[in-house]
């Protein structure tokens, strides 16, 4: 006679408590979906930005890049710092030297003021800005500025440039309407490589 002796499939109590402990312990930072590695994002940005017809005039001799992170969000800060360091290693955007600064986001009005006063050329939004995307886009409209999103859904929410992975390949995303509002005009040869949102 076959002896099908039922046995425990899990040491339920031990395994589940470990899993719950992980969930509770990790509440300090929810990792958003940073799909294109920061190093590749930096590489793509330094190639794409000079194709903005207005980039040279906007940047002058030094392209100021602001990397915005969400306060009290470990994932956002970590991704932002990674991007900053990847960009800093490359030194220049096109032929223009760059200076990169990481700052916590303290609100759209403050951001607008900093961008205007510091003549920021590019503002990069790390992960976690889903809730603030619309107010940020409203605040940046009218400024001469390239806004870049680390996560793809923000391009539909009116960030000018973003990145996503499809079939394991990086893709560039552009919001043309917001680009016009921010005086960004990508050349045709690069636009045709991008996924366009109007």
């Amino acid at each position: 006679m076959p002896a099908h002796r039922p046995g425990p499939l899990l040491a339920r109590r031990g395994v589940l408590s470990a899993f719950v402990g992980v969930l509770l312990g990790a509440q300090r930072g929810q990792a958003d979906d940073l799909v294109v590695p920061p190093d590749l994002q930096a590489e793509l940005l330094i190639k794409v930005a000079p194709y903005d017809r207005n980039f040279a005039a906007r940047a002058g001799e030094l392209a100021r890049v602001l990397v915005m992170t969400r306060p009290n969000d470990a994932a956002s800060l970590g991704a932002g710092v990674q991007f900053e360091r990847a960009l800093a290693r490359r030194g220049a955007i096109g032929s223009v030297k760059s200076r990169i600064e990481v700052r916590p986001f303290v609100g759209a009005p403050a951001l607008k003021a900093i961008c205007a006063s510091d003549r920021v050329s590019i503002v990069y939004f790390s992960t976690g800005f889903g809730a603030e995307a619309d107010t940020i886009a409203d605040g940046l409209s009218g400024l001469d500025l390239l806004s870049v999103a680390a996560t793809p859904e923000l391009v539909q929410r009116r960030m000018v440039l973003g990145f996503e992975l499809t079939s394991g390949r990086p893709k560039l995303l552009v919001n043309l309407a917001q680009a016009r509002r921010q005086n960004v005009a990508f050349r045709a040869e690069v636009l045709k490589l991008m996924k366009v949102y109007e």
């Binding site: 470990a74 994932a75 889903g130 079939s167």
Partner: protein, 731 residues
């Protein structure tokens, strides 16, 4: 005037240089956008050329363009370094010149979104319809060649295949799919993908369910003159009624079929992800073969196999502090397998008075559950010095047994019964270091502790160097292993086989080096490798002393003609190369690729001369080209796959290894949107195989007309055409 002219000329020259530089940058940009990002080799996202292994990817677009329907088709027509052969079910996969026939896929680790599909009794994985993976849901397939146990543990010896499914953004809306292969199969599917908010957090799901059914075609076999039944002395029966002729063969009209319902879905809510998988795989194979049915009557519909599979995977990831990411995963799977066959021959049955033959019912069950915790620490927060540590623990409950009943009296015997529960755990660490932008180093090791055999360490060392723009030099040393399966350890039947405790794990080590050059949208790669396999498990005959001891222990019947057991009996050495040339032209409309692998592999066993591996071709590859005409016109694609003539596989007699045919298979596909009907798309394919037979020997004698010089191989369905329609309702 002159100064103005010079200035104008200088400005024009600068513009030209700028334009030339800009054009070069566009080429660079196009190349960057073609650079695959993979995660299988290191369990972190990285560019494929920086990964510590040779990794190739097959995109959803590739699958669509070339009308690929199953994983084995994807490997054959689109991959580098791996190939599949199909003995009319139980597709077998090999890589880099090594195909281990009758291993049931247990030397390749198959993952679905990182979830291992290899079951835990035999280590079996399916690469055809039985995988239960709806292809429209596939985002891309990552194929990592060579040993992968450093992060994945057992089974990852030939490589790791990770099928990654689409996010909702790439599978948006609801869809209905209908497809038919004329006039043998049909498939219907429903799928959906949506993004939404749930309790203030982003959520999404993507899922597809489908039903595939196939019948025929009919195939002709034999005649194979077997001769008399060893019990009755009369010509052996291969069918229930009619005259017993001792001859096997005829036209199999009823036994080649498939029924494969499958469903897979993923739900993501914030940082939590739930994956659910369910499938069944019922099939009949129309000939006697070593892999599944060694003793069946000819062309019986009720000779069949059925798998039922369920799987669940719950994941969570979170950043604890900047640079420190924690991932956790709970998983559980259940696989239940039934094999039925009926034989009308007395000699195939366990009792000498079962003169009308008997019917067998083999059942295997495999259930397992586990937890994996993984932490990655980017110490400098710039990707240059990163540590990955992880632990994976699993509880396995497996069982098997065979019930054999007399066709006449319904008396039954049960053999080969085993039920067992065991534990398995692995801990791994991986350190990556980038001392300079051009240099990457990766070192890792995994310690596995398994109740089935003890413990094992699998190391890996890899270095990448990018000396010039677009160029990558890579060197990798890696080891891997396969746990002796519960089947190999415990299979017993007093009529012929005893349990085999004390089996050691199979091991392999590999050294490879490659050079890759990217230039714009094009890529060339050449790599060379050598691998050494030891302690390969196989069956061997018991000697006289072992036989007597087995009889004394009660494990073997004294009247058994021979005794067998599994043992670590062989080594394999192989060396060879992989090469690929691929790219895109005309703004990506024209895409092409050529993949080629050449290898020499030899098997060594005590007391036997070195031999080639049955079923392993010494060269194989594929080529493809496609053009997207755009503007409402279809995408036309042509692909070819080939392998050079291997020795036969699937033989009952290890010494009978006749030369089999090589193969050249052509596939043409036209895909596009149906004009005037938004959301409706079509796919038309035609497939033609030049060789009429596979390398798998067929039948009880395995050669025709009593002549070993006329080996009988399983046929190939040479010409197939298919039409598919997909209708997508936007979200």
């Amino acid at each position: 005037m002159r100064a103005r002219t010079v200035a104008a000329a200088f400005s024009a020259a600068l513009s030209a240089v700028g334009a030339a530089r800009a054009e070069g940058d566009v080429v660079d940009l196009e190349g960057l956008l073609e650079r695959p990002v993979v995660s299988t080799a290191s369990k972190v996202a990285e560019a494929a050329d920086e990964a510590p292994a040779t990794v190739s990817t097959i995109t959803a677009e590739d699958l669509r363009r070339h009308g690929v329907r199953t994983l084995d088709e994807a490997l054959n027509f689109l991959s580098l370094g791996m190939m599949a052969t199909n003995p009319l079910h139980h597709v077998e996969v090999g890589a880099r010149g090594v195909m281990l026939s009758a291993d049931y896929g247990n030397h390749v680790l198959l993952l679905l979104d990182g979830h291992a599909l290899n079951e835990q009794l035999i280590g079996n994985a399916y690469f055809e319809r039985g995988a239960g993976i709806p292809m429209e849901l596939v985002d891309h397939i990552e194929i990592m060649l060579g040993p992968g146990s450093v992060l994945y543990g057992s089974n990852a010896m030939l490589g790791v295949i990770n099928v990654v499914t689409k996010r909702a953004k790439d599978y948006a809306g609801a869809r209905v799919i209908a497809e038919a292969e004329l006039a043998t199969s049909a498939r219907a599917a429903l799928g959906a993908g949506y993004e939404f908010e749930l309790f203030g957090r982003r959520a999404e799901f993507s899922a597809q369910a489908e039903y595939f059914a196939h019948e025929g075609p009919s195939f002709s076999f034999g005649p194979q003159d077997y001769g008399p039944d060893a019990i009755t002395g009369q010509p052996k029966r291969f069918q229930a009624g009619g005259e017993a002729t001792g001859v096997w063969g005829g036209t199999a009209r009823h036994q080649y079929y498939t029924r494969a319902p499958a469903a897979y879905g993923r739900l993501r809510w914030g940082d939590v992800e739930l994956g659910l998988r369910a499938s069944a795989y019922e099939r009949g194979t129309p000939y006697l073969n070593y892999l599944t049915a060694p003793t069946s009557d000819f062309d019986r519909r009720d000779n069949r196999e059925l798998d039922r599979l369920l799987g669940v995977d719950l994941k969570h990831h979170a950043t604890i502090v900047p640079g420190a990411l924690l991932r956790s995963r709970l998983y559980a799977d259940s696989v239940y397998y039934i094999f039925r066959e009926t034989t009308s021959a007395a000699e195939n049955c366990p009792a000498a008075d079962w003169l009308s033959g008997c019917r067998r019912r083999q059942t295997n069950s495999s259930r397992w559950a586990g937890v994996e915790l993984q932490g990655s620490f980017d110490w400098l927060q710039d990707g240059r010095f990163t540590t990955l540590v992880g632990a994976d623990a699993r509880l396995r409950h497996v069982g098997m047994g065979q019930s054999i009943r007399d066709n006449a009296s319904d008396a039954a015997v049960n053999v080969g019964e085993y039920v067992g529960t065991d534990r398995y755990a692995g801990v791994y660490v991986q350190q990556t270091l980038r001392p300079a932008d051009e240099v990457g180093l990766n070192a890792g090791a995994r310690l596995d502790a398994d109740q089935r055999f003890g413990s094992n360490v699998s190391p890996r060392l890899a270095a990448t160097y990018r000396p010039w723009r677009g160029g990558t030099l890579k060197a990798v040393y890696a080891e891997a292993f396969r746990t002796p399966s519960a089947f190999e350890l415990n299979m017993s039947d007093p009529s012929y086989i005893i349990p085999s405790p004390g089996l050691r794990p199979e091991k392999t080590r590999s050294v490879e080096a490659s050079i890759e050059q990217r230039f714009g949208r094009h890529r060339v790669l050449f790599g060379a490798f050598t691998t050494y396999w030891r302690d390969m498990i196989g069956g061997r005959t018991l000697d006289e002393a072992e036989f007597a001891a087995a009889v004394e222990r009660g494990e073997l019947a004294a009247e058994a003609p021979e005794g067998f057991r599994y043992d670590n009996i062989a080594t394999i050495r192989s060396y060879g190369y992989n090469a690929t040339f691929e790219g895109a032209l005309v703004e990506g409309r024209l895409r092409y690729a050529l993949n080629l692998t050449g290898a020499q592999a030899r098997r060594y066993e005590a007391g036997a001369p070195a031999s080639r591996l049955g079923g392993s071709p010494q060269a194989f590859g594929n080529a493809r080209v496609s053009y997207d005409f755009g503007e409402g016109l279809p995408t036309a694609a042509l692909a070819a796959r080939f392998y050079t003539a291997p020795l036969a596989a699937g033989g009952f007699d290890d010494s009978y290894l006749p030369q089999a045919q090589g193969q050249l298979e052509l596939r043409t596909a036209f895909t596009g949107d149906v004009p005037g009907v938004p959301g409706l798309s079509y796919r038309v394919t035609a497939n033609y195989a030049l060789a009429s037979h596979s390398p798998y020997l067929a039948g009880p004698v395995q050669y025709k007309n009593g002549d070993p010089a006329q080996p009988e191989f399983a046929p190939v369905d040479r010409f197939r055409t298919a039409l598919g329609l997909q209708y997508v309702l936007p979200p």
